[in-house]
């Protein structure tokens, strides 16, 4: 924590508190720096157990959570949090995500995925959309899903006429999850990995 930047520059308004959880020191440092400014203040944890401790101590506005960590991984952290009634918004950050982890995460109201590598801009934009969702149908839908309201989320998504791949992917995955509540294995079976590429924030699918 000693390497964290000085947070006294924050304004009088109590800044948003973000917890960054990652086992990779440089990345953890980078995330924390990126999220430390006038409106947000970042704290860090280097593994799942530490993150759970920190979250038990005080409340955070959002958690940026690495999926792959030794011992207690991202999914375990989410499950533990939700089990103890903590519904703090989580941004799941990973280089690669599987159907299994995606379905499990969404089931636990985690709908924000960041694909590593992440640029500071993308990180800030993701955090912003979690804390202050925008006006687009997709953002509204995701906000509902974040609150566990899948039916409302689907209504918002159906109202959209943009038809981007990201929207249709979300519509599809949320629809299946809504149709088979709790049947995670069945949902996993019906989904293919290819649907996941479009779920993340700032998805860049263009290959050259």
């Amino acid at each position: 924590m000693s390497r964290l930047p000085d947070s006294t520059r924050a304004s009088d308004r109590s800044p948003l508190r973000i917890l960054v959880v990652d086992d990779e020191p440089t990345l953890r440092l980078g995330f924390a720096y990126a999220l430390t400014n006038a409106t947000t203040q970042a704290e860090t944890a280097s593994n799942g157990a530490e993150a759970l401790e920190r979250l038990a101590e005080k409340s955070f506005d959002a958690v940026v959570l690495d999926l792959r960590m030794p011992d207690v991984d991202g999914l375990a952290v989410i499950e533990a949090l939700r089990r103890r009634g903590d519904f703090t918004p989580v941004i799941l950050c990973s280089a690669y995500i599987t159907v299994h982890s995606a379905v499990k995460a969404i089931h636990h109201h985690v709908v924000d995925f960041l694909m590593k590598p992440v640029k500071p801009v993308e990180l800030r934009s993701a955090v912003k959309s979690v804390i202050h969702p925008g006006d687009s149908w997709l953002e509204k839908g995701l906000a509902s899903a974040r609150a566990g309201r899948l039916d409302q989320a689907l209504d918002f998504l159906d109202a959209s006429d943009q038809g981007t791949l990201r929207e249709s992917s979300w519509r599809r995955i949320l629809k299946i999850m809504h149709e088979h509540p709790g049947e995670l294995e069945r949902i996993e079976f019906e989904l293919s990995e290819s649907v996941l590429g479009q779920l993340a924030h700032q998805a860049d699918n263009v290959r050259t």
């Binding site: 992440v118 500071p120 791949l165 290959r207 050259t208």
Partner: protein, 609 residues
Amino acid sequence: MLRARLFLGLLTLVILLWATGAAALVILNDADTRFQGRLKQDYQAIDLAQGLRSYTSMLNSTYITTLAGPAPETAPDRQLFDETRTKVEDTLHALRLLGGGNERWESSLSSLTEALGLYFGDYERLLTNEVVDRTERSDLLRTFGAHTQRITDLGESLTHLAEEQLFNASRALAAESGKNTAFLATLVVLGTAMAVMIYFQLLRHLVEPVVGLRDSMEQVTMGNFELTLPMPTAGSEFGSLVTTFNSMAEELRIRRRETDERLFRNNLVNRALLSAIPSPVYVLDLHGDTVRLNPAAEDLNESLGLGTRLPGKVLRLFQNCQQQGHNHLPEDPREALLFRIDEKEHFFLPRIFRFSAGRNEQNPYAGWAVLLHDVTRIRWLDDMKTNLLSTVSHEIKTPLTGIRMVLHLLLEEETGRLSDMQRTMLSSASEDCERLLSTLNTLLDISRAESGSTHLDLRPTNLRDLADQSIHLFESKASASRITLRIDAADNLPQVMADPMRISEVVHNLVSNAIKHSPPGGNVDVHIARSGADFVRLSVLDDGPGVPEESEGRIFERFYRAPNQRTDGIGLGLFISREIMRAHEGRIGLSERNPDQTRTEFFIDVPTA
């Protein structure tokens, strides 16, 4: 030898023929002559006998009339009587000569002579005019009548006798001709017997050897070269033929022995070659029946519990090849078939190809060869490589994301201003970092594409929608290079059965490539239309220089980049696209460039729903 026999036999036959003919002629001639003689003799006798009557009647008519009246003063002229008497005696003499010793003829003739004597006696009395008395004259007249009658009767009887003799002669002739017929018949029978003998001789000495030779030749034709014909007796015309035949058979024997040896040697070489091949090899005939297995195939079949048949999975592929008539020569180890042998997984890549001795399709030496190339090790290494690639990429990627984050933060200059040199160095580092990350991402994509985890989420999809999204996505990039993106889709297009995400990936790739290779100010067109009954085709056309001819066959290989490319990339886009299309059972390709066509066209065919 045969010639002599034939000559002798036929000569005998000819002599017999001549003899028969001559005998027949002689006999006929003889009978005819004899009959003619007899006929002449008898007719003469009859003629003479008849002549007697005319003499008597002539004499009677001349002289008897004088008897009716009184005796004349002078004796009648006896000149006629003397002449007639001489003629009658000549006739009698002739008749005696004609008698030929016949008793009845002789007695009749002597009675006639006697009667004529009496008759002429009467005339003597008349002519000498001895009888003047009227009574005596009438008695004489009566005696004349009686004697004339008697002469006539005897002449008649002689005529009858001659006729009887003629009849007898013809009967004798008939009896003789019967004997002659028997003789001739004997000769003919003899000739026939001779002919039959010659026939059997011919059969024995000419036909039988020829038939024997023909049978032997048939045997040789059937491959029995061990045959040797027995030599015929010395002097036979077949001697040279049999010798020639035997030497031919001998020659054939030698040739066959040589061929057999060569075959044996070839067989040994083939066997050695087949044994040296560690992969199971099956050689089959055109019907698919196994002709030969190599030891590796025998081992495989034994462990699979098969006889000499092809294993089931291979058999299905083989039957497919048989029906379609083309070879199956896959290169990709991922097309290998899995066999479980002793609880272990083995992968065999089946290579099926047709062979034939010539171009002729119905060649009896044509067949199929099936080689099962064991790619278990290659597959294992490939899997290892893929796993290693994936692990290493992840391990590198994780710290790299941190480094990248920090570089970006520094370049944002929120933590303090950078000097120009610092900014240049950090920008360079950041660019390298981006490139490294992009490479790592591609490597991960390959390992993902190759590990078969690309499970497809197939559902009815509108290809036009995917194309629209792609156009939308690339609009800013295209306008930066002053390239116009256009789309043109046929009406009433059917939906395709596809994983929209994966197909989007392919479309993005094609559009992105087209933009990259288009000159500034060019057009990139996306066409969508039906392609046959089962596919919808999406084509992407650009105004770029096209794919160099020498690269056309290789652009879908991984890591392949056409030479002299100015644009970035490590050459995986089309490879991954091909993998995706292959998983869709669709197609991807580069349209052939017509000489008048200046545009480059890549297309994908997606199966209809």
